[in-house]
Subunit: 335 residues, 2 copies
């Protein structure tokens, strides 16, 4: 199975490391032998139809770019997608929730070439999920994005595969670890500002944390879930979104006295999409602390089910990419 890797940041590198450490195991257990035939980042490209040497690729990246691999280093992502023969393109460039680029262009180009596509990039999905799915169907390719929601926690797969024959009526969840960390710290007595500062120091929040704080990241994941799980055709503009910057220490304290906590809850009832600070009972399984994510699905017959896990992390998200790859292998190719 030939794979083109577009973007080679934390997730891409973690994916290469998983392939290195688990090659034998993946072949015996899943009959899968992925070969990275090309990898491209902002600095250049590395191409080898026989499969790149992943150790050497990781070393090249340490020097600044996969371009240092020294094999056809001049092509840009769109050229690589166009020119390199492969079954699957994995798109893991950084997320941009305003333009969706460069991910959207990469995904469209790959689908048009008839490649199955895996992405961990929320931008293209949040902004144009319905049209990307249509394009995938039109070109007869699979499109998977497990790593976009929940990191390594298989939230999308759970809903799609584990509740077959039942219908999900609604769901709600904590989809952003950074804001959950900040709210958890406020519960311990910190002010909003100190909690945000603490999250920055721990590396949980970016220097410019607006994407998390203002609820854009949670809204993007909510859009992906609503489309994929509930069959809605929605984008970011359909989300009624409120961030956590107006949450006061006194609000958190008052909630705590009632046995509750304030959480940034993303919810979908098949009609409305909402991201909003919400008071939740401490006894509700969804009420997790720190950087954890949690989602509760309410289904017609099997009741409420909650799934909890770390919503981020390079190796965790890379494991979601691997799951997608195995699913494509199992669905498309005979074993």
């Amino acid at each position: 199975m030939r794979v083109v890797l577009v973007g080679f940041g934390v997730v891409g590198q973690s994916f290469a490391r998983i392939l290195l450490s688990r090659a034998a195991d993946l072949y015996t257990q899943h009959g899968i032998k992925p070969r990275i035939v090309a990898c491209v980042d902002q600095g250049g490209s590395a191409i080898s139809p026989a499969g790149l040497d992943l150790q050497r690729l990781l070393k090249a990246k340490k020097k600044g770019s996969v371009g240092f691999y020294e094999s056809d280093a001049r092509q840009d992502p769109l050229q690589v997608i166009e020119n390199v023969d492969a079954e699957v393109v994995i798109e893991c460039t950084p997320t941009n929730l305003t333009t969706g680029e460069p991910g959207t262009s990469h995904i469209i180009a790959a689908m048009r070439k008839g490649r199955h596509v895996i992405t961990v990039n929320k931008g293209p999905l949040a902004l144009s999920f319905p049209s990307l799915i249509e394009l995938a169907n039109y070109n007869g390719v699979m499109f998977r994005f497990s790593g976009t929601v929940g990191g390594g926690t298989p939230i999308l797969e759970f809903a799609k595969r584990c509740l077959k024959g039942d219908s999900i009526i609604s769901f709600q969840g904590i989809l952003n670890g950074t804001t959950n960390y900040i709210l958890s710290k406020m519960e311990e007595g910190l002010s909003y500002e100190s909690a945000l500062q603490d999250a920055k120091e721990k590396g949980y929040a970016e220097a410019n944390p607006a994407l998390d704080i203002d609820g854009y990241d949670a809204a993007a994941k909510l859009v992906i879930m609503a489309n994929w799980i509930m069959g809605m055709k929605v984008t970011m503009k359909n989300v009624d979104r409120t961030g956590i910057s107006a949450v006061k220490a006194s609000d958190v304290k008052k909630a705590l006295q009632r046995g509750n906590a304030i959480k940034l809850i993303a919810s979908c009832d098949s009609k409305h999409l909402q991201v909003r600070p919400t008071e939740v009972s401490k006894k509700d399984p969804i009420c997790v602390n720190g950087t954890l994510n949690a989602v509760t699905f309410s289904s017609e017959h099997s009741g409420h089910q909650t799934i909890i896990g770390r919503g981020a992390g390079g190796i965790e998200t890379a494991s979601a990419v691997l799951r997608d790859l195995i699913e494509i292998r199992d669905t498309v190719f005979e074993r």
Copy 2:
């Protein structure tokens, strides 16, 4: 798809009700049209190769037995399994964790006739999982039992399907709702005896609650999970089991002062199987209250993931049977 239903208690009846209410939907969404061609309980049998009228079947049961359906009412379960042509046998007679009967005999007979088998009966699996799986493989039939663990909460499916390509190193969980309810009540200040009494009054505990209290029910589920998820070949006798009857109100109180709770934790680390009252941090997602069940899986790359839901209930468990049926349909028969 012709189905024989053996046992027609709460789960069997709930299953019939789901089929009644969702027939159209199941056909359009899953291409599945299950026909109950026979149903048998302790009082008799009802047989119709064209498919039983489920409304009439439920009415007959209200009179005491499906035998009142008045159509070939004399056959016992083994005769029905032997004589009625079908693709799938659903075994939902009551659990017996000492003998495994009558479920084990039903399952063996069905597999020998080349029927795919679905069961919600923990007894046969807890006592002879490895040999039943072998028999299923030998006869080339599928064997599914999602409803035996977690009721409607898809714990087994989650582990098997949602973590593909990763390997589960260990898991631990609260697998028995009755004991969890009692321990939760003790945390609120009740003595062990009053909490048990309360559980009986609410219908959460049987008149003879030993199966729950002494950890047999949790151990049975642990055995099923260890075999199915970890590939171990174990039965009830491999479980190091301690129940909750020795847990004192003072123990619970002391744990609470440390920010912890005492829970009946079933754990498996691929070598040892253990059911034992264990002190757990209140901040651990596994620390759920009331009759909830919770399991945390620890996997190599994607970290810790917790799944929480109600572990019992007729309609919930019946929804697990339906999921199994859809899986058999998707795997064995072309759509």
